[in-house]
């Protein structure tokens, strides 16, 4: 037991286990270290993805060839999508903050299967490496878009196989994380923490984990079928052999729509953590938020056809999917209402996490409402495959998951690193980023309505003005990102040290453990009596 007693007093960052140094990190089964491994990997690849986006926007600053031709542009938006979707936002908050904080927030010493947790990260990394080979092999990087639509995805000579196979491997990472989290939440909650005493971030991780388990296999089999098309010519999606390309789209979106709920539910969970703390007020409608989380996870399985309104589906399918899409918007609206009601008559603490959380609500609403515009059949016919769609999903995914991720990182940063970031630089970074974000994406709504298509390296001269604003916005936004990242990275290593357990006066378990946490989080597993967010002293 002597190892355990040393572990009690050493921060997880300094703990020396079986392996030393770098190996001690990449072979660690400590959920906190694994969370950081994901964070660092994602930081690296997000930067690559952002640079790709910036290059695309630079190409689009003027009509015609600016810095690249069509083939390069197609390869760029494909890789940008693959990175941002599969490497960043799908693992997203669960991989980083779920891994780091789920056990602590429910009063556990680790997740249910720590070794499988490490395997998840390794599969993620291996998947990434396989995807990267697609960029450098002889036949050229894939140009299909991250959606790999048939029949082009099996007719194009480019390196679709490794890209698709890499995504397949990453899918296993997601599935194993989902399994780990469901079992952890079912089996390892501290005594007294009944389901309805569990904080909201773990609740959203639970809903998300179910989607990871039930939806990811669908993309798994779909990608395998693309492999079968390319290698065997099996014919399921090939009209020349009797196959239906629309069936590919069904299979693809049966995963990829629930996938967006994997992206957004934990984001909403983080916001639900932050708003009560910075409003000094208990969350409004805890049960409604729990129910709406489960409702979104469930109904979200049945709306996938709204990505396919112009594909050639039957009229009945069109009606059904549009109706279900409107239905799924309701629980999301419930959450927004509850967040705003929490803030109402609260004592607002104006600090960095709160700025991110409030701006999240703003951009998420724009994203969500424009989703209804797209979910409506008549408008969709006009807007499908235009820049309106690009604006919508960047508002809801980048605005949603991205802003929430930033909020979460600034909220949990002191606990994770035992250091504080510079608040002034953080706020300035937020401001510059936010302005750039709006300048980059708002014009796209207009451009889309006026008819500018997506995934083209060129456009009509009438779209030039909007594109100038948008492309300049991209540069401003990236400047904001630089400020934010440099601040965070410097502060993690050289920032003001702190051992303050509860800098924000939070009411959930992670604010009762050491800063930074020790290896096993708790000296003794606590018995929980209060509900979370209890500010009614």
């Amino acid at each position: 037991m002597s190892e355990a007693s040393t572990a009690k007093h050493v921060s997880y960052l300094d703990y020396k286990g079986r392996y030393k140094g770098f190996l001690g990190w990449i072979l660690s089964t400590d959920h906190k270290r694994i969370g950081l491994l994901y964070l660092y990997t994602m930081l690296g690849f997000f930067s690559v993805g952002a640079i790709l986006g910036l290059l695309m926007k630079t190409q689009l600053i003027a009509p015609g060839y600016t810095i690249m031709g069509p083939q390069t542009y197609n390869a760029l938006f494909t890789l940008h999508g693959i990175i941002m979707i599969f490497i960043i936002v799908v693992p997203g908050l669960p991989a980083v903050f779920g891994n780091f904080f789920l056990p602590i927030m429910i009063g556990a010493k680790d997740v249910a299967f720590p070794r499988i947790n490490l395997l998840s990260w390794w599969l993620y990394v291996i998947g990434i490496l396989i995807v990267l080979t697609s960029q450098f092999m002889g036949d050229g990087p894939p140009d299909t878009g991250w959606t790999f639509y048939a029949p082009y995805s099996f007719r194009t000579p480019t390196n679709v196989l490794p890209a698709v196979f890499g995504a397949f491997v990453m899918g296993f990472s997601s599935i194993l994380t989902g399994i780990n989290f469901v079992v952890t939440i079912h089996r390892m909650r501290a005594p007294g923490m009944k389901w309805l005493k569990m904080p909201l971030f773990p609740w959203t991780l639970y809903g998300t984990a179910w989607i990871q388990i039930l939806a990811t296999p669908v993309i798994g089999i779909t990608l395998l079928l693309i492999v079968a098309e390319r290698t065997l010519g099996i014919g399921f999606f090939d009209p020349a052999l009797g196959g239906d390309p629309i069936l590919y789209q069904h299979l693809f979106w049966i995963y990829s729509h629930p996938a967006v709920y994997i992206m957004i539910l934990p984001a909403m969970g983080a916001i639900s953590e932050i708003i009560p703390v910075f409003s000094r007020k208990t969350i409004f409608g805890y049960k409604a938020i729990v129910l709406s989380t489960m409702a979104i996870a469930f109904v979200g399985y049945f709306v996938w056809g709204h990505h396919m309104f112009t594909s050639g589906m039957s009229g009945r399918a069109l009606f059904a999917f549009s109706f279900l899409t409107f239905l799924v918007a309701i629980p999301s609206a419930v959450k927004v209402f509850n967040w705003v009601s929490t803030m109402h008559r609260g004592s607002l603490i104006m600090q960095t996490p709160f700025y991110w959380a409030v701006s999240f609500i703003f951009v998420f609403m724009i994203g969500g409402l424009t989703g209804l515009v797209l979910g409506s059949l008549a408008t969709n016919v006009h807007l499908h495959d235009t820049h309106f769609v690009v604006a919508h999903f960047h508002f809801i995914v980048f605005g949603g998951t991205g802003f929430a991720f930033m909020a979460a990182v600034h909220y949990w940063f002191p606990k994770m690193f035992g250091r504080m970031y510079d608040a002034n630089w953080a706020n300035m970074g937020w401001g510059v980023f936010f302005i750039g974000f709006l300048a980059l994406y708002l014009p796209m709504f207009y451009l889309g309505i006026m008819g500018m298509p997506r995934r083209y390296y060129d456009y009509l001269p009438s779209f030039h003005g909007g594109n100038i604003l948008s492309s300049l916005g991209a540069w401003v936004m990236v400047a904001g990102l630089l400020i934010i990242f440099i601040n965070l990275v410097r502060s993690a290593r050289h920032g003001q040290k702190t051992s303050e357990k509860n800098p924000w006066n939070g009411r959930t378990l992670e604010w009762q453990v050491d800063t930074p946490p020790t290896l096993f989080n708790f000296d003794e597993i606590p018995t929980v009596t209060k509900r979370p967010y209890d500010y009614e002293e």
Partner: protein, 198 residues
């Protein structure tokens, strides 16, 4: 590392993994359903190319292997190591026989020139191409799972022999059993859909 044993948790985890397999194969059944609804006659005629006798034999032995693995768990629970090993041995043998049957079945198809999406197949109608594409892909993926099962049984048999799986700790055996039953369940649905369309 933390030592913490939770057999119920491990079992729950295994069931969750089985759910992923259900969805994985489930989507292939969706593809089957779609194409069969589009080409009912062609599927019916193509189905008659398959050998009902081999299919039925495979179904029967796989069901028996589910029984033997379930019985092996009972044996371990009773502390009867010898019987457990016998039953696991039979299960493993059945798995191998299944694959051998598959090998002959597929071999016969290849002799006709039926390869997935190629050979003589490409000359025939859409429905036939799709039927055989689905046949090869689904039974192929199923066979891959049988192969993985064989690997698992070899491991489990070794663990039982070394007394690492025993009366007080047999969750590995239980979970392998669950996996094997899933493989059986998939075949329970594959069999009528490919071999018994009349």
């Amino acid at each position: 590392m933390l030592e913490h044993r939770d057999d119920q948790g491990a079992k729950l985890g295994m069931w969750l993994f089985l759910f992923t397999e259900l969805l994985l194969f489930g989507m292939l059944f969706v593809v089957y359903a779609v194409y069969r609804s589009m080409h009912p006659e062609a599927f019916r005629i193509a189905g008659e190319e398959l050998d009902v006798v081999i299919g039925t034999i495979n179904t029967v032995i796989l069901l028996i292997s589910s029984m033997t693995v379930a019985m092996s768990i009972t044996a371990i629970q009773k502390g009867d190591k010898k019987r457990a090993l016998q039953l696991l041995g039979i299960t493993l043998l059945i798995a191998i026989v299944f694959l051998v049957n598959k090998y002959f079945e597929w071999g016969a198809k290849f002799e006709y020139g039926f390869y997935p999406g190629a050979g003589e197949l490409a000359e025939l109608g859409y429905g036939t191409i799709l039927f055989f594409g689905l046949y090869f892909f689904m039974t192929g993926l199923h066979a891959l799972h049988i192969l993985i099962g064989i690997g698992l049984f070899i491991y489990v048999i070794a663990q039982v022999r070394k007394d690492r799986i025993h009366q007080e700790d047999y969750i590995w055996l239980e979970n392998t059993g669950l996996y094997w039953h899933l493989v059986d369940l998939i075949w329970i649905f594959l069999f009528p859909l490919f071999y018994l369309i009349h």
